[in-house]
């Protein structure tokens, strides 16, 4: 599966990543025996794991991989926001599994910046479909209501 990456948080450019040989370890394996996985660069977190106390686990990894066992199982959207916003994790958050074209923008807004997704043209088009957003999320886009206030104050 091809890996696509955003050039920056929020709505950057999306392009194919050079395959990096990332060494994966699951959250359970990591917690059971961190010494045995000292070389690992990517932490794979299942979507039913609590991320409430995960800050010190993710901090040493370049990549966090969150799973969509099916496209309609949306738990990883919340996990991504918690890891990006509450844990202030600044590395790569990668979406794996049921990653569909029409979900990429939601994922970007929740803090994902890498996607196991095959069609870079479709991904690029999908990320351009909406100019604005109504609510704040994990990206840097100001919600519509803040833009309204800025317009009103400038006028």
């Amino acid at each position: 599966m091809q890996l696509l990456k955003l050039s920056s948080h929020g709505r950057g450019r999306i392009s194919p990543a050079l395959e990096e040989p990332s060494q994966e370890v699951s959250l359970d394996e990591w917690r059971n025996n961190p010494q045995a996985h000292a070389d690992a660069t990517a932490l794979v977190i299942p979507n039913d794991a609590s991320v409430a106390d995960i800050k010190k686990d993710v901090s040493g990894f370049d990549v966090v991989i969150l799973d969509f066992p099916q496209f309609k199982d949306g738990r990883a959207y919340s996990q991504a926001r918690l890891i990006r916003e509450r844990m202030e994790y600044s590395g790569e958050i990668r979406a794996r599994g049921g990653v569909l074209r029409d979900q990429l923008l939601f994922m970007v807004r929740c803090g994902f910046n890498a996607f196991e997704f095959g069609d870079v043209g479709a991904a690029d088009a999908a990320l351009r479909e909406f100019t604005f957003a109504y609510q704040p999320a994990a990206d840097s886009v100001a919600p519509i209501w803040r833009q309204r206030l800025a317009h009103a104050r400038a006028a």
Binding site: G74, F106, E129
Partner: protein, 551 residues
């Protein structure tokens, strides 16, 4: 009424363009039906028994005559000349062709309408009191908060793939006309002892296979914190709600499994983390949205209209319509006029394009351009001068829209049932039609008083049978349609789930059964007691006996 600015208009136009692309990918074969399904279901497009069905959002049931005219246009151009108002204050078209749907959505976008989040496992179109802004009994107009919820929930990136669909209802009256206790989240605006208004937050109500009355997890939430509190509830649900079983995935199952106390704890803990994180609107934006809902330019009128009193004298039919279909308005000299979409023997909620245009004209001339859709599948002209009521009634009568039965036994909620729906076990509409015909006499109906019959063609309960004073549930028994009767439900401020009263009845017997129940109620009631009051006083057993006693 709310009006779109450039941001809202851009959102809806871009959504229509996105959906046009999705339909093109389906029609070209790039997407299979299986791949297209989740996309169309995010935009209110269902594949029903005979055709596609498009559900168009009417946020909190408020719309204008211009929008109603466009709905009529869509009914003529893309459907068979009619539409169907639903229990979610929306309208459905039962016969559009897939290839036409993008054009239909473009036509709607021009009048600030869309089908966004009218299906799918996301936050659905928010619903409210159909008398909002007009009712004499409300604390304040709940619609600015509905609009704030609409915007916050539209394309919410975190909550677009929830365990299951999610419905929020808002009321600002002690007389709950929005059924807030049987929604995923119900919000009741009320005044606290200090004179401030805030929300009672009710979570985990719902109908379907496992009906529950919701639990209050907060008595008083200051209004300005609404969105962060909703976000906390939704986040807990998104992470903790069950996903292993479609029938146990609604928030009501989570709330009742955890217990309301523990669930409240989870929400409050999450809220403490996000309440100051910039989710809630600033005061300026809250005020800007409220300004759209400022009261129209009501005239100073005497409370009573001399002309009206003369018109009703000697015109029994008009007088009945006034008694049954109009409601007190908060401004002297005005009334709220209900328009029944339940003609005797008709299909509940159906309306023709010509009728839509008649209602639009009336709203234009007599109701400050406003129309409301109700969750009981009727319409409302919210602000009519009392002296105009006779003119309004005459136009409604000519259009076949003056049935004086609001809240009475023939004002029946029914789901589309097996006439349209792929999930249904039985038909609902013909049962509603036959009950309505059997109990057609309006004198008799009025003497029976408030009596709510609600009919669902399967256990998913779209016809709200659990909260009918008399509920009827269709079940399939070895290929034959049977109907189970429930009694004692209510969707109001005294919400309760009806009890099943015995074995299923054939479609032929169910109409007789309703008549028996009604007659029994009449024989048992004391002065002023409604059907529901009698049931609550004497219990299920006497009704069962009356229902199943040998003829």
């Amino acid at each position: 009424m709310y009006r779109y600015d450039e941001f809202d208009a851009t959102m809806v136009a871009e959504r229509a363009a996105q959906f046009r692309g999705q339909v093109a990918r389906r029609l070209s074969g790039e997407l299979s039906e299986e791949e297209f399904k989740p996309l169309r279901l995010m935009n209110g497009l269902y594949l029903q028994l005979h055709a596609y069905m498009l559900r168009v959002a009417i946020p909190y049931g408020t719309f204008s005559s211009r929008q109603m005219r466009r709905l009529a246009h869509a009914a003529r151009k893309y459907d068979k000349g009619y539409g169907h108002f639903t229990t979610r204050q929306n309208i459905q078209y039962n016969w559009p062709a897939l290839v036409d749907v993008p054009d239909l959505l473009d036509d709607l976008a021009e009048v600030e309408m869309h089908a966004i989040q009218t299906s799918g496992n996301c936050i659905r179109n928010v619903t409210s009191d159909q008398y909002a802004g007009a009712a004499a009994d409300e604390v304040e107009d709940p619609r600015p908060w509905c609009e704030i919820i609409r915007q916050w929930s539209t394309f919410h990136p975190e909550f677009s793939f929830l365990p299951r669909k999610f419905k929020i209802a808002v009321t600002a009256s002690d007389n709950d006309r929005a059924a807030v206790r049987v929604h995923d989240i119900g919000l009741r605006l009320h005044k606290n002892a200090g004179g401030d208004t805030g929300f009672e937050v009710i979570v985990g109500g719902g109908l379907g296979r496992t009906p529950y009355v919701g639990h209050t997890i907060r008595d008083f939430l200051p209004k300005e914190h609404l969105l962060s509190y909703l976000e906390a509830i939704l986040r807990v649900y998104n992470l903790e709600g069950r996903r292993d079983n479609l029938y146990k995935a609604r928030i009501k199952i989570l709330v009742n499994a955890e217990g309301a106390e523990r669930f409240r704890g989870l929400v409050e803990e999450e809220w403490a983390q996000i309440r100051s994180s910039g989710i809630d609107l600033l005061r300026e934006e809250i005020e800007r949205i409220h300004a759209y809902f400022e009261a129209p330019a009501f005239e100073k009128l005497p409370g009573e209209s001399v002309a009206l009193n003369a018109q009703r004298d000697g015109n029994g039919e008009f007088d009945r319509w006034l008694r049954v279909n109009t409601v007190a308005h908060k401004i002297p000299g005005y009334a709220i006029a209900n328009i029944s979409l339940k003609p005797i023997g008709g299909i509940p909620g159906d309306i023709s394009a010509a009728q839509m245009e008649a209602v639009a004209d009336l709203a234009d001339q007599f109701s400050f351009d406003e129309i409301r859709a109700t969750h009981e599948q009727n319409l409302v002209l919210p602000h009519v001068r009392k002296e105009d009521l006779f003119k309004v009634w005459r136009v409604l009568k000519a259009a076949g829209l003056a049935t004086a039965n609001i809240g009475l036994v023939s004002d029946i909620i029914a789901c589309p049932g097996l006439d349209y729906c792929t999930l249904a076990n039985t038909r609902s509409i013909p049962i509603a039609q036959r009950i309505s015909e059997r109990l057609a006499d309006l004198d008799e109906q009025e003497s029976l008083g408030e009596l709510k019959i609600k009919i669902s063609g399967c256990i998913n309960a779209c016809g709200h049978h659990h909260v009918g004073h008399i509920g009827i549930l269709g079940v399939d028994k070895k290929g034959e349609e049977f109907y189970q009767v429930t009694l004692g439900g209510s969707a109001g401020e005294d919400a309760s789930i009806g009890e099943i009263v015995g074995r299923g009845l054939s479609s032929g017997d169910v109409v007789d059964a309703v008549e028996k129940l009604v007659q029994f109620y009449k024989s048992e009631r004391n002065d002023g007691e409604r059907f529901l009051d009698v049931y609550r006083r004497i219990g299920a057993d006497p009704f069962k006996e009356a229902l199943y006693a040998a003829a």
